[in-house]
């Protein structure tokens, strides 16, 4: 136990985790005048100078990006995604051997333990949920009703979009509400034609450019923080020295630092919330230094858990007290349950004949988006509930096509210098419905810090498996209708939950403590000064990428928390 005085370790608020939602909690709480301690379990990565691979070229990587055999052993979970373990950005992902987990049923748990968390490597696709996403559970009976509706979150979506900067095109769709957008990225010729054909042949079906948290016309909010426009290098996961996309480092951390109210401490693994049974509330957290194993205690009036969907619940499970004998806020036994993700690895690709004299320039780390159309509006009856969206895009082949061409020699080589044919792919992202049997638990096994190792037990449900057949067929139909050839529909069932790296739902929001862990303001039932605003809070999954919603929920909860604190309610 450290010997520093308790006073020195006391703050107005503690934020556990510095990823996409923790950064937002720190920014909002410090800007509202609170003295905040943000605790990160991993190492520090400084903006720009910490991005060691950002400016490297392909030939600077010994294996030209590929994983070597030793890395495959160390990063055994990352191997499964096929890209997180790559040489260019492996330093941003966790070594799975050092941070083990168990699988009763297989789960891909891809982590980033460092300042900024996965906000440094996220996909940056930023979509609002729609009104029906918040009522779907109530309507079809899967999971429990959300305690909030779209209107509760809408102003916070706008607030977050204006700060992080989202490029996109307004489409006026109820299924994919518009936001505060910077100018959209460009589509290439084949994509433009595809969009217009799909719109005509499929009764107005929308195809839009991906809405992505990249700056295309930075505002003063962003330039004041030193951020600049996206440079179209498509090397995002290595960290962006231009601040072209939103991350904790490029956005919320400098904003929080500007207030003078933030203290950031790194390398401290928070594993428990300290609950005072007499006061009936949490008073602080316990942490272990990941390098020295020294134990620390920190104290505050309010605590935000933003440790990730799994780790926030992992902390709560270890936070047992007389009042919370089964873990913090776990009267419902829902803690750790209802893990959701987006199922993918399904869709179609095809080649395009024509436009041979047309090309593009720049490397756009973004693609097309086709919003959900199943079980929506006048859609026909489906054999599954909810829906999916597609992400995809068209491009011209490069030298890689040589691998499937016969021949070699001078003519072969010169041909590979030329621009290859067009092709296009559409990959589905499907909603999964909450299922209490999809869960993780703490085991008796411990890691090198003596902390419990988790075991996953989850699978895609029957609804998802039915949905996938439609996801594959509809993608193929669209490509066919748009004149593509050599259409290759695919439905790869091998990837396990977690593959989308959109894991969520282990401490869901709800309307009562018998069925949920958090209330409508993300407060833990029975510990109202503890807020959980990361993916753990989600009561359903929608089919759109989730980070924008985590950020909006966080900003909303922080606003509520500070108001309650001022009213002396916490």
């Amino acid at each position: 136990m450290n010997i520093q005085g308790k006073e020195k370790m006391t703050y107005d608020a503690i934020v556990v985790g510095s990823g996409i939602s923790g950064g937002w909690a720190a920014k909002e709480l410090t800007e509202k005048g609170l003295k905040v301690l943000m605790i990160e379990r991993g190492r520090d990565i400084k903006h720009i100078e910490g991005y060691e691979n950002a400016m490297k070229n392909p030939w600077d990587f010994p294996h030209r990006g590929n994983m070597d055999s030793m890395a495959k052993e160390e990063y055994w979970a990352s191997v499964r995604t096929g890209y997180t373990g790559r040489e260019e950005h492996r330093n941003m992902f966790e070594n799975d051997k050092q941070n083990p987990y168990l699988e009763k049923r297989s789960f891909d748990w891809i982590r980033g333990y460092h300042v900024g968390g996965r906000s440094l490597m996220w996909g940056r696709q930023s979509y609002r949920w729609n009104e029906k996403d918040f009522t779907a559970n109530l309507e079809d009976g899967h999971g429990i009703d959300w305690p909030i509706r779209y209107k509760d979150l809408a102003p916070w979506y706008g607030y977050v979009e204006s700060f992080i900067g989202v490029s996109g095109s307004k489409e006026g769709l109820d299924v994919l509400p518009d936001g505060n957008f910077q100018p959209p990225m460009d589509m290439n010729c084949v994509e433009k034609e595809f969009k217009s054909t799909i719109n005509k042949k499929f009764g107005g079906r929308a195809v839009t450019i991906g809405r992505t948290a990249h700056l295309t016309a930075p505002t003063k909010i962003q330039t004041d923080l030193g951020r600049g426009s996206c440079q179209f290098r498509n090397a995002c996961m290595r960290g962006c020295p231009y601040g072209g996309y939103f991350s904790t480092q490029s956005g919320t951390l400098p904003a929080a630092n500007k207030t003078g109210n933030l203290t950031l401490t790194t390398d401290k693994i928070v594993h428990q919330v300290i609950f005072d049974d007499e006061k009936g509330k949490a008073v602080g957290v316990k942490a272990i230094d990941q390098n020295t194993k020294e134990e620390y205690e920190y104290f505050a009036k309010i605590i935000f858990l933003n440790a990730s969907s799994i780790n926030s619940s992992w902390i709560m499970m270890q936070s047992k007290s007389k009042t919370h004998p089964n873990g913090l806020g776990n009267e419902s036994d829902q803690l750790g349950r209802n893990i959701m993700d987006h199922h993918l690895s399904v869709g179609a690709s095809g080649t395009y004949e024509g436009m041979e004299d047309m090309y593009y320039s720049g490397r756009r780390a973004n693609g097309l988006y086709i919003p959900r159309f199943t079980n929506w509006g006048s859609d026909k009856k489906r054999d599954f509930v909810r829906g999916f969206g597609y992400q995809g895009g068209a491009s011209r082949a490069s030298w890689g096509r040589g691998n499937s061409m016969d021949g070699f020699g001078a003519a072969f080589k010169d041909e590979l210098s030329n621009v290859g044919p067009w092709s296009m792919g559409l990959g589905g992202f499907g909603e999964t419905v909450p299922d209490s049997n999809n869960r993780f638990i703490l085991t008796d096994k411990t890691d090198k810090w003596g902390l419990p190792v988790v075991e996953f037990d989850a699978a895609w449900g029957e609804n998802a498996l039915k949905m996938r057949v439609t996801m594959m067929n509809e993608a193929a139909e669209m490509l066919e209708a748009a004149g593509f050839k050599n259409i290759n529909p695919y439905n790869n069932p091998t990837p396990s939950p977690g593959i989308g790296i959109h894991e969520m739902g282990t401490a869901r929001m709800g309307r009562d403590k018998k069925t949920s862990v958090l209330n409508a303001n993300n407060q833990v039932w029975g510990a109202s000064n503890v807020f959980v605003t990361d993916g753990a809070a989600m009561a359903s999954a929608s089919c759109v990428n989730p980070s924008l919603t985590y950020m909006a929920l966080t900003a909303r909860a922080a606003d509520f928390a500070v108001k309650e604190l001022k009213k002396m309610n916490l």
Partner: protein, 215 residues
């Protein structure tokens, strides 16, 4: 993130650098210790180092632009085999080199591959390419059965060890990877732009325009 079929996604991210079977082979985690063994014990003989570098040069010869040798593809292939592939794949590749020498002596009057004429070398490599295609086809058929209705792949992965990538196929893939991601390959055979600064979706191509090195 750019997500999709895991394999397709990798193919996309890598610009289609490696074939699906090769990627599957590379993605399948090695069992304990085998990685260490494979990574420390593999080496090509001096003769085979030369042979690999020469085959690479035949695949991508020096023309108006640098060739495979200029890009250091020979040593690159040996390093990749050592660091990134299983002992089974390494042995399969080495056997491919043995077979090539054996066939060369047989069909070219006792001459080693590098003692043969360019025409003889080309003819032999064409034979080996055809053999590789045949082997790859068999591997693919053995590996998966696709349900026509659902499109579900009944993958046999886990039940049987994935077959190694055929010799010539891997030789060619690693040659292409080593060359086009090298500095001379990217800058001279292709067009390399460090910081594009913008994305312009529709541009009329100029005559003889080369492909971008990165996508």
């Amino acid at each position: 993130m750019n997500r999709r079929d895991a394999m397709q996604r990798v193919a996309f991210l890598m610009g289609g650098a490696l074939s699906a079977p090769t990627m599957i082979a590379m993605l399948e985690g090695c069992k304990s210790n085998t990685a260490t063994e494979a990574a420390t014990s593999f080496a090509l003989s001096t003769d085979y180092k030369t042979l690999v570098a020469e085959i690479a040069e035949i695949i991508l010869p020096k023309t108006a632009t640098p060739g495979a040798k200029d890009a250091g593809v020979g040593p690159f292939i040996e390093m990749m085999l050592k660091d990134c592939y299983s002992a089974t794949q390494q042995a399969h590749f080495a056997k491919g080199l043995d077979d090539l020498e054996g066939s060369s002596k047989k069909v070219n009057g006792g001459k080693k591959f590098l003692e043969s004429t360019p025409a003889e070398q080309t003819a032999l490599l064409k034979t080996f390419e055809a053999m590789s295609n045949e082997e790859a086809k068999k591997n693919a058929e053995a590996k998966k059965i696709v349900d026509a209705e659902t499109g579900l792949t009944k993958d046999t992965k886990g039940k049987t060890e994935a077959p190694p990538t055929p010799f010539f196929k891997l030789m060619k893939e690693l040659t292409l990877l080593g060359y086009f991601t090298s500095e001379v390959g990217a800058k001279q055979a292709l067009v390399h732009v460090d910081v594009p600064g913008s994305y312009v979706g529709c541009i009329k191509m100029t005559p003889g325009q080369k492909a971008w090195a990165l996508s």
